[in-house]
């Protein structure tokens, strides 16, 4: 069902209440998601983005109830990823020849995925498409989060169609930021940033500065996932500015895996030490084999420091910690302190493996770490608490 945003813009996307995993199995989406597509009608009619492939037929059927497809003069593809371009093959079958406005890189990504030679119109930053009384202005945004990404701005209505920027995997019939649960909304917005945009923070800062410098009035930000920012839309822009500046809160996060609970008991004893040294700091513990990895990465994103633990198994680490180290390497968090810990029975390589992984991921490893033989006894637990106190002191 379409939802009217104002007199000329309708949301014609798909709310996906069922979605729990995205990007294959890579990303958890506890609150579902939506694929936002927008129909703008002026003297000319333009469709901005589509939906994910599995919903292509529903999308096109629903769209036909809104408009005769042949009245669509232009299509804008802000980003070629399949969750936004997935209905293009079906749509272009219905209205072949309709021009698709996109970046040069989106021609590559769309051709690379669909192997179709549609009527592409390559646009660059600052170019305008006249819709009659209003214009769409295109703003390239490479690596936010693919090379092909761009934003489109609708004059007169003052709407920024920001594609994945400012989006959240958050299914809601409320549609607008002022009508939803703020805690859920901001958690999902932060999770999206932490898990997808962190590596591109430098570009986030630059692009926001570039857009603000244009001094365009902003009444709404319409992202391609989740709710629309209409009440004080700049609030999410300001939040992004903070998140892009090596964001951290006063939090230390433990990420560990454990076989026979020795490493877990170490984690808890180290946490006790931290709390003895610093009552203010928030301390959270996650077993990486049990907790959701994207939630863990969101907690890492908001932390000033992490402690990563694994017992030694086959001269290495447990697989969930191996996976975690790979994740943080790709996300390139900045300005975070770290240390390793773990129990072992004979060879004891896990601490060095984790320290190396943390260093390679750009964390500031502040100590050699702590490794203990077999199950911790009272003396070992006291060493853990001391280690925690030292770590807390180095994070002040």
């Amino acid at each position: 069902m379409a939802i009217k945003l104002n007199n000329s813009v309708r949301w014609v996307g798909k709310i996906d209440w069922e979605l729990r995993r995205f990007h294959g199995e890579e990303l958890s989406t506890h609150h579902g998601s939506s694929y936002n597509s927008y129909l703008v009608q002026d003297q000319k009619t333009v469709l901005i983005d589509t939906v994910w492939g599995p919903f292509a037929q529903e999308f096109v059927n629903d769209l036909k109830r809104e408009i005769d497809l042949h009245q669509i003069d232009y299509i804008v593809a802000n980003h070629g990823e399949p969750d936004h371009s997935g209905a293009l093959p079906l749509l272009m079958h219905e209205i072949p020849g309709t021009p698709i406005y996109c970046t040069a890189n989106a021609v590559k990504s769309l051709k690379g995925q669909y192997h179709a030679d549609w009527n592409f119109k390559v646009v660059k930053t600052g170019e305008r498409l006249s819709l009659g009384t209003k214009d769409l202005i295109f703003i390239e945004a490479p690596m936010l989060h693919w090379p092909d990404t761009m934003f489109s701005y609708l004059t007169e209505d003052n709407i920024l169609f920001s594609n994945d920027g400012f989006g959240q995997h958050y299914a809601s019939h409320q549609m607008f930021n002022d009508l939803v649960n703020q805690e859920e909304l901001y958690y999902e917005a932060m999770k999206y940033y932490a898990n997808i945009l962190t590596p591109f923070s430098k570009m986030v800062t630059k692009k926001i500065a570039e857009i603000l410098a244009l001094n365009l009035p902003l009444e709404m930000i319409c992202p391609s996932h989740g709710i629309i920012w209409r009440q004080n839309p700049l609030q999410i822009v300001e939040r992004y500015q903070k998140w892009a500046q090596d964001y951290q809160e006063n939090q230390i996060t433990f990420v560990y895996d454990t076989m026979w609970n020795s490493t877990r008991r170490m984690a808890e004893a180290i946490a006790e030490g931290i709390k003895q040294a610093d009552r203010q700091v928030e301390v959270k513990l996650f077993n990486s084999a049990r907790a959701d990895k994207n939630d863990i990465l969101t907690e890492v994103f908001r932390s000033k420091a992490v402690l990563v633990g694994s017992p030694t198994v086959n001269k290495g680490v447990l697989s969930s910690i191996g996976s975690f180290l790979e994740e943080i390497k790709g996300l390139s968090f900045k300005n975070k302190k770290a240390a390793a810990f773990g129990a072992y029975g004979w060879s004891g390589e896990s601490m060095a493996t984790i320290s190396k992984g943390l260093s390679e991921a750009g964390f500031n490893v502040v100590s050699d770490g702590l490794r203990l033989l077999w199950n911790p006894d009272a003396e070992s637990l006291a060493r853990c608490a001391d280690f925690g106190k030292e770590f807390a002191a180095s994070c002040l």
């Binding site: 040069a104 890189n105 490479p142 690596m143 090379p147 430098k202 570009m203």
Partner: protein, 54 residues
């Protein structure tokens, strides 16, 4: 000095400008960039660049 273009994201490395964020002084030829230099836009390595003619 020649400009080079990133084949992943189309960023153009202009030796006259260098890459301030990456610690590269203006006037540094592409060939003289350190081996671990990466595209300031998308992060791919030097091997993903090719010569660019305006």
């Amino acid at each position: 000095m020649k400009k080079w273009i990133c084949t992943a994201c189309d960023h153009i490395y202009d030796p006259a400008a260098g890459d301030a964020d990456g610690g590269i002084a203006p006037g540094t030829a592409f060939e003289d960039l350190p081996d671990d230099w990466v595209c300031p836009v998308c992060g791919v390595g030097k091997d993903m660049f090719e010569e660019y003619n305006d």
